[in-house]
């Protein structure tokens, strides 16, 4: 934690804000010691004067030097603001952690109090408390402190609730740790960082709020003075003597900003940075499709990101009409990126290149000669290229009815009227066996179950006349029974309409079940391409075999540990010279570690295993 705070101070914003804050705090400590005399010296010869060599910012109505008064006022202003912040934080912490200590009933009452108090703006609460506590510095500190408490209470509640769900809290609870001890020993240390950051930002706000109260005359009372008081007193003279009003105002803003910026810099520094570099896309020459039966032709596809990393490096395959092709591999093998690249859904800064990428004979990459082709390409993809995404829970827009979301594409690309598109959507929902399709079409995504949403997502792909469905882990988020239903549905669609399917999955048993052909990916490459029927007997790449061996079946001995592939997937940023799988492969030789094998005769391996050498694997056909 400490090193991260230091890292924050090394950023330009963090360092600037830190220095500014340090300066402001030093001023508050030392200014009254050094300049009290100058600030209070009454010079009756120079009343309400403008800027002069003797008085930089002029004098006030008693001839006191405004510049020194602004400097000296820093202590009162900042001290009172910090006091008020402390009251706000302590009260807020007590109110916000009350639910964790008091149990259900007391907790609910505390939450209700906070909910109601948060609904009122801080200034209004401050005015209310100012009436109760009386006009003056003490009353204002209490008023602003209590007025700031509800928002800290809300913050504490949120943070405590976030921590309370973590495993170590559950473990402590099971171990019988008492509520109060739990709060102090386990919860508070874990939320201290965001609390401190927010208190820093809050101190800036408190400083400004305090200046506000003093400004309208409810805060610091004469002869004491803070920045707000000085501003309020000199406002009426702003025409003749603007410096007297502007100087304390500028001081308040600078001090407030110092707290604010420092807090924000720390908050940002402790979060995650977003990569900023921007990549331009190259436009390789498009080659016309050779295979008239081919729905999708991919030749030497590469996907890269700034870093630079190239998670997909030279993938080639062809999908024909009515064919179901499986693309398998561990997480991070590049299979989902391949799917997104094929679908033209990689967003900058990601960059896609390929020797050829064509869909139904039309090139998808490369510069378009005329503008109209962009629309043509969009229409082609919009009607014939369907995507089914992994997570049906998040892939629908939560604010729109399912039917409307299905109908949208048809209205756009097929020019259907609102009603015709809705009827088509209902028809398609029926086709994917959504019961009571008419009623369902008018519901929102949150009213659908996961399996039902995935059907609806497939139905969305069927709104046009798809030639290809790219399904990216369509069953991963679903339970086993629903998985099978969704796979069956894809199979049915293929056999009824001759639609090609590219099925991406990390689960080789899912792929073996419905695919015609399987592409095995490792570290951004296709390492083996084989018919699904040969998975059981014909796999030659050691990685394919290892994947198959890792699938448990009814013969797996229950008393032995599950088979796993040793080692971990390679980091695409640090690829070895030779075969990317060499480090995890029991057949690897020196050649494997120096020379990168290419896909020859459907397998990319220097030591492909003989086909008959094993037969104990099952394909997962159940």
């Amino acid at each position: 934690m400490r090193t991260r705070w230091i890292a924050v101070l090394r950023t330009p914003v963090g360092a600037g804000a830190g220095l500014l804050l340090l300066g402001v705090l030093l001023l508050a400590v030392f200014a009254p010691v050094l300049w009290s005399h100058q600030a209070n010296a009454i010079d009756t010869d120079h009343l309400l004067q403008g800027s002069s060599a003797q008085h930089w910012l002029g004098t006030d109505n008693l001839g006191r030097d405004i510049f020194y008064r602004v400097l000296v006022a820093s202590r009162t202003s900042i001290l009172l603001a910090l006091l008020a912040t402390a009251i706000a934080v302590v009260t807020g912490l007590a109110l916000g952690s009350a639910p964790a200590i008091l149990g259900k009933r007391g907790g609910r009452a505390a939450i209700a109090v906070v909910n109601i108090a948060v609904a009122f703006p801080g200034l209004l609460l401050a005015l209310f408390f100012a009436v109760v506590f009386g006009v003056g510095a003490k009353g204002a500190v209490l008023a602003i402190g209590f007025a700031g408490a509800p928002s800290f209470a809300r913050l504490t509640q949120t943070l405590v609730a976030g921590v309370a769900e973590r495993d170590f809290i559950a473990a402590a609870r099971i171990a019988g740790v008492g509520r109060f001890r739990m709060l102090v020993r386990h919860i508070l240390p874990n939320i201290a960082e965001p609390l401190v950051v927010n208190a820093t930002i809050g101190a800036g706000g408190t400083l400004l709020a305090f200046a506000g109260l003093s400004f309208i005359g409810l805060g610091v009372q004469p002869p004491a003075y803070d920045w707000g008081r000085m501003l309020g007193e000199s406002l009426s003279g702003i025409y003749v003597h603007p410096a007297a009003a502007l100087a304390p105002g500028v001081a308040v803003v600078i001090a407030g900003l110092a707290f604010n910026l420092f807090g924000e810099a720390v908050a940002k520094g402790l979060g995650v940075q977003v990569p900023r570099a921007r990549w331009t896309s190259r436009t390789p020459e498009a080659v016309p499709a050779r295979d008239s039966d081919a729905v999708l032709v991919v030749e030497d596809l590469q996907v890269s990101f700034p870093g630079p990393v190239t998670p997909v490096r030279g993938v080639s395959f062809t999908i024909r009409k009515g064919e179901i092709v499986g693309l398998v591999g561990e997480s991070g093998s590049g299979k989902s990126l391949t799917a997104l690249a094929v679908a033209q859904l990689i967003e900058p800064p990601g960059q896609v290149t390929a020797a050829e990428l064509s869909f139904l004979g039309a090139p998808l990459l490369g510069r378009l000669p005329v503008r109209s082709t962009a629309a043509t390409r969009r229409r082609l993809l919009g009607t014939s290229f369907a995507m089914v995404f992994q997570d049906p829970m998040t892939s629908f827009n939560p604010t729109k009815r399912i039917g409307v979301q299905l109908a949208e594409g048809a209205r756009e690309h097929q020019g259907l009227s609102r009603r015709a598109a809705m009827n088509r959507a209902i028809d398609r929902l029926r086709a994917v066996r959504v019961p009571a399709a008419e009623r369902r079409a008018h519901q929102y995504p949150h009213e659908f179950s996961g399996g039902m949403r995935q059907r609806a997502m497939i139905g969305m792909g069927l709104m046009g006349t798809p030639a290809l469905i790219v399904a990216d882990e369509p069953t991963t988020a679903l339970d086993v029974t629903v998985q099978r239903q969704v796979l069956r549905l894809l199979e049915t669609i293929r056999s009824e309409d001759d639609v090609a399917v590219l099925l991406i999955s990390h689960d080789i048993s899912v792929v073996a079940e419905i695919c015609d052909r399987v592409l095995v990916m490792y570290a951004g490459r296709v390492v083996e391409d084989l018919p699904a029927t040969e998975l059981a007997t014909g796999a030659r790449h050691p990685y394919t075999r290892a994947l198959l061996a890792a699938v448990p079946d009814l013969d797996t001995a229950l008393d032995e540990p599950l088979a796993v592939i040793p080692g971990r997937p390679v980091d695409p940023a640090r690829l070895p010279d030779g075969c990317a799988f060499a480090a995890r492969c029991s057949f690897a030789s020196d050649r494997c570690r120096t020379e990168d094998p290419v896909l020859v005769d459907q397998v990319a391996c220097w030591h492909p295993q003989a086909q008959a050498e094993y037969s104990s694997f099952r394909t997962g056909q159940r």
């Binding site: 703006p121 949208e408 756009e412």
Partner: protein, 326 residues
Amino acid sequence: MTTTVSAPVLTTHPWLAFAVRRLGRLAGSVLILVSAAFLMIHLIPGDPVRGALGPAAAQSLVDAQRASLGLDNPLWQQYVDFLHHLVTGNLGTSITTGLPVSDVIRDRLPATVELAVAAFLVAMLIAVPLGLAMGVLTRGGRRPRAELGFTSTAVVLAAIPEFLLAVGLVYIFAVTLHWFPVAGRGSVASYVLPVLSLAIGPAAVLARICRVELLAVLQTDYLRTARAKRLPAAAVYLRHALPNAATATITVGGLLLGGMVAGTVLVENVFGWPGLGSTIVSSIIAKDYPLVQGVVLVYGVGVLLVNLAVDVILALLDPRSTIRES
């Protein structure tokens, strides 16, 4: 504060349940507000009437005033009387002027409402298009310099409280350039500076939130789905991204409107605006408690109504929010 909803009619009609729940909460909040306003006068240390009339006032005068305010009755009876008077629109009489509090409020309220509403509209009209445009322009790390400039300007503007902004604006546009009057409420020009003082800070906050929200929405799976439908870019942004980004923007916008209602207090004092804000400050200083009570109630109810409006709009935009709380 939510009432437990068990009747079947409420579970089958989420909107009815929402209305019952939300109005229930409003009623609870109003009751607490009214009670707080009532208790305020009793929480003040010492005799509020003595405080208001000053140490020099004759004891007979203080006693008479106490009697007319009903302060010698038992507390519960005072509370019942207070509620009864509220319902009949009687907010008591100002100690300093002797005028009915309701008359003072009727006189002063329009100026404050005008100011807050105009500032809210100006803030929304600046912030939402600006935030969305910045979001689209800086998505995926594009134009880092524009992003830095936008964010730092917005942070600085948002950090300046409205009354200081008001002083700065007065200095530049009234004292130096003579474009607008320094203070007062009259011509259209006299509205410009107070409205801008109130609107600029919230607009900066809102524009930042709007941009960040849009960026978050652009990352979602359903936006990818929308792109997979090959909709034109404008349709993706306006139809799919905007409503989802609007949810947080409106939530914060509503909170800011509540804050603007309160911010009028300070801005009115800078510009000598004849609204409730100047009234509440002068009445607090004069210890004119019946007037303070009345104005606090008006401000509080105003904020509660704004919050209610925000919740209703949110429920219309994002149907999950009606269900979420149940």
